[in-house]
Symmetry: C2
Amino acid sequence: MTSSESTPTANRTGLLFALAQIDTCVGDLEGNAAKVLEYSRNAAGHGAQVVVFPEMTLSGYPIEDLAFRATFRRAAWQTANDLAKRLQQEGLAEIFVVVGTVGTDREHDRPRNRLVVLHDGVVWAGYDKHFLPNYGVFDEFRIFTPGERSVVLEIHGARVGLAICEDIWQDGGPVAQLAKQHIDVLLTINGSPYEEGKGHVRQELAARRAAEVNAPVIYLNQVGGQDDLVFDGGSFVVGTDGQLLERSPQFREDLGFWHLDLDGQAGEGQEAAQPATLSPALDPDEEVYQACVLGLKDYMAKNHFTGVCLGLSGGIDSALVAAMAADACGGEHVWGISMPSMYSSDGSRDDAADLAKNIGAHYEIQAVEPLFTAYQKQLHLEGVAAENLQARIRGVIVMAYSNTHGLLALATGNKSELACGYSTIYGDAVGGYAPIKDLLKVRVWDLARWRNRQAEALGEQPPIPENSITKPPSAELRPGQQDSDSLPEYELLDKVLAAYIEHAHGRADLLKDGFDPETVDTVMRLVDRAEWKRRQYPLGPKVTALAFGRDRRLPVTNAFRE
Amino acid sequence: MTSSESTPTANRTGLLFALAQIDTCVGDLEGNAAKVLEYSRNAAGHGAQVVVFPEMTLSGYPIEDLAFRATFRRAAWQTANDLAKRLQQEGLAEIFVVVGTVGTDREHDRPRNRLVVLHDGVVWAGYDKHFLPNYGVFDEFRIFTPGERSVVLEIHGARVGLAICEDIWQDGGPVAQLAKQHIDVLLTINGSPYEEGKGHVRQELAARRAAEVNAPVIYLNQVGGQDDLVFDGGSFVVGTDGQLLERSPQFREDLGFWHLDLDGQAGEGQEAAQPATLSPALDPDEEVYQACVLGLKDYMAKNHFTGVCLGLSGGIDSALVAAMAADACGGEHVWGISMPSMYSSDGSRDDAADLAKNIGAHYEIQAVEPLFTAYQKQLHLEGVAAENLQARIRGVIVMAYSNTHGLLALATGNKSELACGYSTIYGDAVGGYAPIKDLLKVRVWDLARWRNRQAEALGEQPPIPENSITKPPSAELRPGQQDSDSLPEYELLDKVLAAYIEHAHGRADLLKDGFDPETVDTVMRLVDRAEWKRRQYPLGPKVTALAFGRDRRLPVTNAFRE
């Protein structure tokens, strides 16, 4: 049945969609529902007839094994119904509110990843996600029962096809079904984590699907940090010809609008020639910097931390983390602790003090040497054990600040050194959050320079001391130590790490990539050993009848209370 | 086609199966192949015609994302071919060697969970696992492409149906197909992790399948610890009438034999009335104790540790862990460190010393107070921060022993206290392995008593001082502190924890279970907060383009080198 047969022509003038790109919190049914209500009011005030929210809006996403708790699913269902009634009580019964939530497959008593439409005081329609990604960071096939049918909504004469995230990434399934159903627009709600360059991939994919279903695609994405993922937003609308009709900003909540014009367009591409509101694309360094800051900011907010503490060594890693922290929560909520040892240079201490001053952080000095001496009176450690001792004393001090002031301890390790095991477990690795653990070292320098340039452009004091950027990196755990004593130069190391870890190149592939055998063997040995050591801590055996470990994968941030 | 049509009657006298219940190591292609060769020689020496090994024998199991590395899959394929040739070279070409390995789905270039038969110098036949478990501790759907067809082997006139582990746990699929194919025996190879009481469940299930396919079932299970899992072995053969025809022991490698008698039995139940070799079932406490010891022993062996270190407080938890460690690697490889503080009782120190003496461990005393005083001169901590400081000083000392002597540090926390957050991160939680983290506290006492009784029965010195078992538990972090100040009595607490965590009962369910509201709210609050805190450490954000975290799930124990 085509839309022209099913609806009066008079209604087919068009439809105003509001794109509610919001930041949800896993388990916080009440808070998420309140945000939906607020954005719906605002959207209705602008004359929108449909307001679209991200994947699993009410439950938050990803909810992992929280989905298996029946009490949570019941509470989520109640929340959707209450919200529909509340919208009606506020005179918003006319608007169509598209939200994601967790549903239940009653036949098997298992969770579903569901889209529901709230309208006229009730939960009006539902669609269940068909393709359940179970690769990379996704565990959905583990959790949800897949949906089996496509759904087309009729809203004021427009035929709106529905999809959830992965549904448009796979060929076949609901999109292939919708392609035969003469829809006017394809609406997809997403929880798509940030990756460098992914924005472009998403748009190309959506354009392909728009051509396939012969209708524009509305791509609405979640924004915000949730545990170890960052969602970048960047929602958009793309036409059947691949033209970008609307784009929301990245890394912040937004309410955008897009008008689907149906009048006189039936039978062809339905989108009108209207002025597009296109938020500008970000510079690659700015994009990654903002991803790190948003991840930290939301981790703090969703876990109820208002401040952070970290060791300031004067080096580039702790300097960049401190600058990010100041951007996330304000310098006055950052505690920087300088913990010089007998091997720390005066320059390092000055750089740490300068940084703290630049960002307006609390700055305290705690000497390591008296504590080191006390331990050594009893333990008489040598070599690596003695180096690790210095790092672990610092870890104990950082945690003392964390416990005393209720601060989130930040670990300052970067990906290059973590990958190579150039880090002390229970030492510098101490922390509840590691803002730059996914940045290779060269990228750390790039982001530091970018942040300073940005400050200069705004006429502000650049946060990171020039000396922290330019001096040769050193752990300062023994006299004259430099990173390059143990590791290849970072420019080379980072390239090998990217190939070995991210692109899963084996030894033969790496040699074919043009890396010399000595470097390849050094890096592979370091990475394999570090991965082995990292994974040893803190594992334990799992006698599964008595299980606590892997078979209960709850999110860190889980605001739900039964 | 029935077997009587397809094979000469002369051949149908029977078949001797060898049940090679071995302990493999993930990634150790060479070591696993050597073990297959050794057991095959032995089996052939006893006249076996078929020798059966566990799931993913050559690659080890579970191999997690190691399966995605193409170099590993190529090496595994090479290993299977080399092994077939080697068997031939040794004059063992006649025997049918059934092993598991990782295969490749060439169409999609993805891994498969595969059974292959080595015979006559070649890889003779293959079967791919159909049902891929993706719940609890299993991630197989994430990793493997499912197989689509059932396979029946013709071996000396016997029709042998094949299955891998989960294939017999789900209705339909390959077993349903085999039920129509007149097989003489169903052979299933498994990597089935230990759970309390699961042996019984496995046997009932296999008996049901034996009836379904109208043939005996050979259930061959892996044995040994692998990372955070323990496989208990306990392989068996069950007849069509549900009778147990053979059972291998739990928790150790074994080569069992079972004769499939075909002569004169065709058309009815084919198994012969032969004397069964049934290893005795274990006492429940002994079973759990052995699971913990084997988990630790294999974790040490597969990660190349020969000794362990741990703090000995004089309490029951560290005493039980030390006793297990002595059973795993010998008391002379155990370093027990007594770290008394100003709040430790004299009794505790004596109990720690007695324990070390009983098990023949190294025993050293490291005072906490001088170090505590040194920190407090700088930090002036109070309350919980000061309590945590004592625990963290102990953590630093334990790691100093670990680094200096190359020892595996053991964490001694039990499940009750870990679940309730009665533990200090970077303090008593320090360790690469936590042998009793899956035991509730009451079970800890039970196992200690069982171990002492066992020693008495053998005329040996009971390892655990009676006083460690009978005294009221205390963390001794402040004067007169007892666990019962902060926690419900363990007898009650453990019951609530089991219901809330293992059976996922919500608040309403727990009240219905008969627990009083105050206890329920206390325990739920403790568990939720502890889970939140535990999961905070050591997480970091995941900007997935630069990923290291969840999208690379390699086993801790990975002996493969590219």
